[in-house]
């Protein structure tokens, strides 16, 4: 029996029992689901299953050790995996109160070329401020700050190529002083 915690919009605490080869019983709260794996070739990121006799399929990608993306029925869900209190470091998962989180990382939501960096190290930023512009697929994606704070690190240069989820900059929130 293994326990898993996935937090996305809601939190799901799973208890999984393996009953036979490729057959599982998943418990969430008091509900039980029987799961049969239909296809998961070479343990790839594509999985198709029967959950209580209803077919579902998805593609799972591990973004890093603590985050996974599940692509199901044309929707993408992002889950934090494991102990939530230690992984609130990315802009997707940052605590709303700002208090528990001393800093957070700005990750690139889109791969592309940095066309403009609008801030400098040490500069105070407010929620909604423009941080940088990434050029991708002939469009410009504006990266905005999700938090109040100041820029403590900039990890990319102008005109450099960035990949998905690459660290762009770090914003510290604890030493923010109002100007």
């Amino acid at each position: 029996m293994n326990n898993y915690l996935f937090s996305g919009h809601n939190k799901y605490n799973l208890e999984i029992h393996k009953s036979k080869l490729e057959k599982y019983v998943v418990k969430i709260k008091k509900s039980k689901y029987s799961v049969n794996i239909l296809e998961n070739k070479d343990y790839s990121d594509y999985i198709s299953v029967l959950i209580n006799n209803t077919p579902y399929a998805c593609v799972i990608k591990e973004l890093d050790h603590k985050q996974i993306c599940v692509n199901i029925q044309n929707y993408v869900f992002t889950f934090n995996v494991g102990n939530v209190s230690t992984i609130n470091l990315t802009n997707n998962t940052v605590d709303k109160n700002n208090e528990l989180v001393p800093y957070y990382k700005v990750l690139s939501k889109v791969p592309g070329k940095i066309s403009e960096i609008c801030v400098k190290v040490g500069q105070n930023v407010k929620k909604g401020d423009q941080l940088m512009i990434i050029e991708s697929m002939k469009m410009e994606a504006v990266i905005k700050s999700d938090h109040n704070g100041f820029i403590s690190e900039i990890n990319v240069k102008n005109n450099s190529q960035v990949s998905l989820n690459q660290l762009l900059m770090v914003i510290e929130t604890k030493i923010l002083k109002e100007n």
Partner: protein, 500 residues
Amino acid sequence: MIESLLIANRGEIALRIIKACNELNIKTISIYSEADLHSDYLKHADEIYYVGKSQPSESYLNIDKIIDIANKTSVEAIHPGYGFLSENSAFAEKCVKNDIIFVGPDSTILELCGNKLKTRSLLEKSGISVIPSYDKLITSENDLVNIAEKIGYPVLLKSVYGGGGKGIRLIKNKKEISDVFHFAEKESIISFDKIGFYVEKFLENVRHIEFQIMSDKFNNFIHLGERECSIQRRFQKLIEFTPSIIMNKILRDKIGNIAVKAAKTLNYVNLGTVEFLVDMNKNFYFIEVNPRLQVEHPITEMVTGIDLIKQQLNIASGYEINLQQSDISLNGAAVECRINAEDPFNEFIPQAGQIVKYDLPINPWVRIDSYLSENFEIPLFYDSLIAKVITWGHNFEDAVIKMRNALNQFLIYGIQTTIPFHKYVLSDENFINGNINTNFIENHKIIDKMKMNFKDNIPNLEKIAAILSGIYYENKPSDKLKSNKISNWRKYANNYGADS
């Protein structure tokens, strides 16, 4: 008929042109950039040639290189598709100089249509009502302020070199001018290496309706009815359908004749699209002629039964159009949804990444124009269109029902696409009732409603996603991460209990 054709394009439209050529026994030559090495369209061409690095300027916009390949392979003609070089008069001219047929209007017409201000004043003189704009090229912020004040806000700043909705910006008041101009200037330099804008009055709550026209060297001009393209976001068309709900036979004949008159005034030859904005009183204002194939051409093909690419090739080969206006009948209705690699829940940010797997809707009356393939890495360098889903029905409602079913069964794994957006719009009452205009998405808060609708679905679908995630880890053997993590999860569960 020509016997060999080079396609100076990529993706779904390259594939679409190849399919038409196959039916006409025309040998196809496709080109590819570094990023397209594994693109599916290449498998269908008779011969393929490397054109250059991934940047469009090095590859699909590289006139010299493309002409060079055409000469080496001694093709008779070049089809430019849409975008890239399709409206480039210098390219069309270079083709002719090298004894290659350019499938499209000749360079003088391309140049005229490219100069939108000139086209407008020409057509205005012939008695066609055009959109209010100011006949002056803008190259500085100062020019812009002066002209915007004269026309009155809100205005649209458009690039003279733009097209397909690219390079258009809305200016609501004087305060916005400086920022908008700065941004537009930068974008124009990135995209076109030069700047040049014009300004037109921004009409709110209008419909965008366009007419497909067709003409040959023998002075035959016909139109193939309209396409309603009002469902747009930031001037990018997302859903198109035909017929338009405001159209009846008398109005279609009337506007169709205006479109034909515009084509005649411009001495137009080959296929083209005449675009109009339509106000609530069904007044049509001419905006521009798109002298090329449109992305949304399939809906016209579905209701007319006419293969537009074959017609283009036929006309370019120097033949007469084998149809008359009275031969054109519009049968039923067709809808097209553009499936883009963009995240509709997150400001439509482009999604690059791998398409791990996809399931196509194999349904009757469904057509898919796409170059999807499994494990295909979507290149970042080109636009984000990955598939077009087109359905036919005996009326609009029927076509929409078929589209809804098709999208329910069209599953793309690996990246977020705009499918959820389309599914929401197709269920929206205002859309179904035809109560739409170019501000539809903003006016009816479609994006917010889509997100709300998604939230209602979360409890079920997210739980399924969580179960699948658990099974994924459970089924993943000898994973170091897993063994480390399990102790953490156990620790967490032990410490905090299993509340959720």
